[in-house]
Symmetry: C2
Subunit: 550 residues, 2 copies
């Protein structure tokens, strides 16, 4: 009898649902919890990113406290406290103790978080490694009392499990504080918490970070700007990015009664004229009911969209740092002699608008014998891991830096005293993994990065070239000076001059050299427009002639 | 009034659940659907991997039909049909149209699939790009009729949406067939469907693959073994890998009444003696009720486990290919002159047993001027993407191949006519992303890979060294032969020999050389134990003396 029962029936008994929390419990390295050191960084990163997003959304200049306490060997307490808008009571458990819950996933506008996973994953990791619940305090205004929660995640069901829920006294009018105990490891260096906070300060000049490290030293990254970045506006999807599967489900969910109103109300950049044009190009009637659109008509619509000329999506959904502030940020944190930054015009990949920015800090205290220091950012968040897998790194390596005065081996970063910042801002940054460490290789993005690098490269080349010229001319002048007395002496012998005449000749020669030198400096001053300090060196008698630009 | 309403209340309105299907719809590159070419490969890979797992679990020698039809430009129909056990009717929709559903996730034993995502993700991708449902046929035995389903995924709720459900005639007694229409791109080369199937054939000698490519050419990879691999046995977790968070939730879910019985029944390698020892080391009573164990006792238990000597987990949960079959697989698909393979003893990372295997094919038709051809496998599945991010690649690069007779630049794969296979078999392979393309850098795994490479390397060095020696000696003999007549002539003059004596001397010299040569060949034959062909070249008068091993 047993042999008559197909094995499939036996196998079926083992089939079951897997909760997303169980999935990430087992796959936590996908979220950036590979090892104790990285886990500590990831936790702080997720908490700080959320705090910054919340403050900016509420138009509050962010002031974030980060505290790291070493509880015992490999065990740390992480405390992140912000002055943001706070979180309403009933949302607190979901936001901190449920994976895939949030407000940013469905919104097409630039934010640091986008997935609704990060902070709950940190809570999950803390719970796994120490068994301790997350402690959350949040207050939404002075008329409201502060709420305090202790939360676990029920991993089997991906649901919050409330351990404690009470009202507490809090001197802050509004804000949120999270406290987690977790297994971690604290080290300084390239991929450290300290480095993450420093890099965050560079591209977020409006943020104040107060950081207390495990040695109880307090480091303050003060703000350099009093203005919040321009707030990104939420947009609708652009028709060019839509795929047939998504279109079909949008048609099913819409409240519009006709295809034409569906197109104008659900997409950006589609007015009634464009909507009619799309329908015409698709050979579909504009008053077709969306519910009646099946596979066949949907396919026609996608073709119709492709044939219609539609202007690019609006870019107020993106908030770049801007050339000026990026340069300011670099000056604030990196001691160099030349700074430049550029912001590219907006571009689009798969219907998503994005902007690339790049900045360079050259010379100063930076090591000239080492590889360039590359700082990668996405939506103002520093990316510290997986440099090799990132589209930014690939683009930097594939740029011919020799043209810009740096030495470079094939397939490697250039060598030189340079810090290079690359920032990608988008409504949806395509990361290569949930841990958001590297940017995927979309051709449109790679192209924009390259153009940004080339623009920075040209400015850098101009500076590096001029600097070399100055050094070269300086040496030349020194040589000439060295020879003047000998020339004088030789002339004295040849022409039988007396001591006095000899001195005269020498003075004359020095004056000629000075004139020549002045002329050289004038050219240098003109070329060195990117660096005030160097321009000042060359101030001479010909300065006034150059002042016409003032 | 509006100002009195905290902004948090406004923000709260946007908070909501994100379904895992929506998440992967937006992040499909995380699952291997980055671009049309890769998407086609990923789809076939997921379907074939599932078929192989099902056949092996049901003790059926797998015979898989893969068909690729070009429907129009960039649109393909993928058909994968197996002779496996089939799937019971009510499970079909969940298995193919619900993400995070499956039987392998909770099981600690080696399988190709492990996450319950892959094939539903392919269905999702097909639906997104063509709008067409997945067509599934499955039959579990001759007394049962075949079921046919057409399925969509309701992405907002991550639930199957049944378009058609009927009983059909099918000439197969048992098996499963999936048919998907999707956007794709078909090219040959390193990361192609053809390459994936060829590499699958190398490490799965018991599998027959019948592949029809878009040009309607049929390629058959016939099986080279009549035996299924040893079936991996399911194990329980090993105490050394357990973290406090997991322990706490196990304690909550257990049916055991005492701590001692909990430890013996929920873990592998824990008998009552070991359980008592753990409790003693933790200073906890063995008859404590699991439900009464709180944070404090759980922490003590974790410490107690660390202090207790517990033997390594059983390894019958893993089914390596084996040295013999791995070599056979290489011989079947790669034309070389020297083959070797080794299987390392089992090891453990984070409580998970694993085994590393490596195989080398050297020389023959392989290009000597190019980088080594590296084939990476995890649980018998070829990994074709993200070579740079993989622990295998890193280990190969960090191995000093110059010691083994290959040239190598720093930080690069060695150069030479070599194919290297590395296989990792484990109950849980730690991939760097859901698309399962690269293995994470766990130190225990990296160490085992290096040891495997060194073992293969030494065998390779021995062969390469001997081969060079033979070539070198051959040249030497040729030179000596060249000089014999001249020596003869010289002696003739010096000693005033006649023509006859000169010939005699030359013959004598040739004989001495022959003897010497014979002696050399004997050494070579002895050393060249890894290659029959070369050993045969050296057969001479001294052969019998070497035959004592026969």
């Amino acid at each position: 009898m047993a042999e008559d029962v197909p094995i499939a029936i036996e196998l079926a008994k083992k089939q079951r649902d897997i909760s997303i929390a169980s999935f990430f419990e087992k796959n936590r390295h996908l979220l950036g919890f590979d090892n104790p050191r990285k886990s500590l960084l990831t936790t702080i990163k997720e908490a700080v990113d959320n705090s910054l997003d919340a403050c900016e959304e509420a138009n509050v200049l962010p002031e974030i406290n980060v505290e790291l306490v070493e509880m015992s060997e490999n065990r740390f307490r992480v405390i992140v406290e912000d002055n943001g808008p706070g979180i309403v009571k009933k949302q607190i458990p979901n936001i901190f103790a449920k994976l895939l819950y949030g407000s940013k996933f469905f919104k097409l506008s630039q934010s640091r978080g986008q997935q609704g996973i990060g902070i709950s994953a940190s809570v999950l990791y803390a719970q796994l490694t120490t068994g301790k619940p997350a402690r959350i305090t949040s207050r939404i205004g002075k008329k409201h009392s502060a709420n305090y929660y202790e939360l676990h995640i029920d991993t089997q069901n991906n649901k919050p499990q409330i351990i404690k829920d009470e009202t507490v006294e809090w001197d802050k009018e509004h804000g949120t504080r999270i406290e987690l105990d977790l297994e971690g490891s604290y080290q300084k260096g390239d991929q450290s918490v300290d480095q993450y906070l420093k890099q965050t300060a560079i591209v977020n000049p409006h943020v104040t970070l107060i950081y207390t490290n495990p040695k109880a030293e307090q480091i303050i990254f003060a703000k350099a700007a009093e203005q919040l970045p321009k707030k990104p506006v939420e947009i609708k999807p652009h028709p060019y990015g839509v795929e047939i599967g998504v279109l079909l489900s949008m048609l099913k969910l819409t409240e519009s009664r006709t295809l034409q109103s569906f197109l104008t109300s659900e997409f950006s950049r589609v007015g009634s004229g464009t909507a009619k044009q799309i329908c015409e190009n698709a050979a579909v009637l504009p008053n077709t009911k969306p519910k009646d659109v099946g596979m066949e008509i949907a396919e026609k619509l996608v073709e119709g969209i492709k044939k219609t000329k539609i202007i690019s999506p609006p870019v107020d959904c993106i908030s770049p740092i801007g050339e000026e502030l990026l340069e300011k940020g670099l000056k604030k944190e990196i001691n160099a002699e030349f700074y430049t930054a550029i912001t590219r015009p907006p571009s689009v990949y798969r219907g998503n608008p994005f902007i690339v920015e790049a900045g360079v800090a050259y010379g100063g205290e930076q090591n000239a014998e080492e590889s360039m220091h590359l700082l990668r950012y996405a939506n103002r968040v520093p990316l510290l891991y997986q440099q090799g897998a990132c589209a930014v790194t690939r683009s930097v390596i594939n740029t011919m830096w020799r043209n810009y005065g740096l030495s470079q081996s094939r397939g490697a970063l250039p060598i030189g005293p340079v810090t290079l910042v690359v920032h990608i801002a988008s409504v949806w940054v395509p990361f290569t993994s949930e841990s958001k460490e590297a940017i995927a290789h979309y051709p449109e993005i790679v192209k924009e990065i390259k153009l940004a690098l080339q623009e920075c490269g040209r400015k850098l080349a101009s500076y590096v070239g001029k600097k070399r010229k100055i050094q070269f001319e300086g040496k030349k002048r020194d040589y000439i000076k060295l020879f003047i007395p000998h020339v004088g002496e030789a002339l004295k012998e040849l022409l039988k001059l007396n001591e006095n005449d000899e001195k005269k000749v020498e003075k004359l020669l020095a004056e000629i050299l000075e004139k020549k030198r002045g002329h050289l400096e004038e050219i240098e001053a003109k070329n060195l427009e990117y660096d005030e300090e160097f321009a000042n060196i060359g101030k001479g008698e010909t300065e006034e002639e150059n002042d016409e630009n003032k």
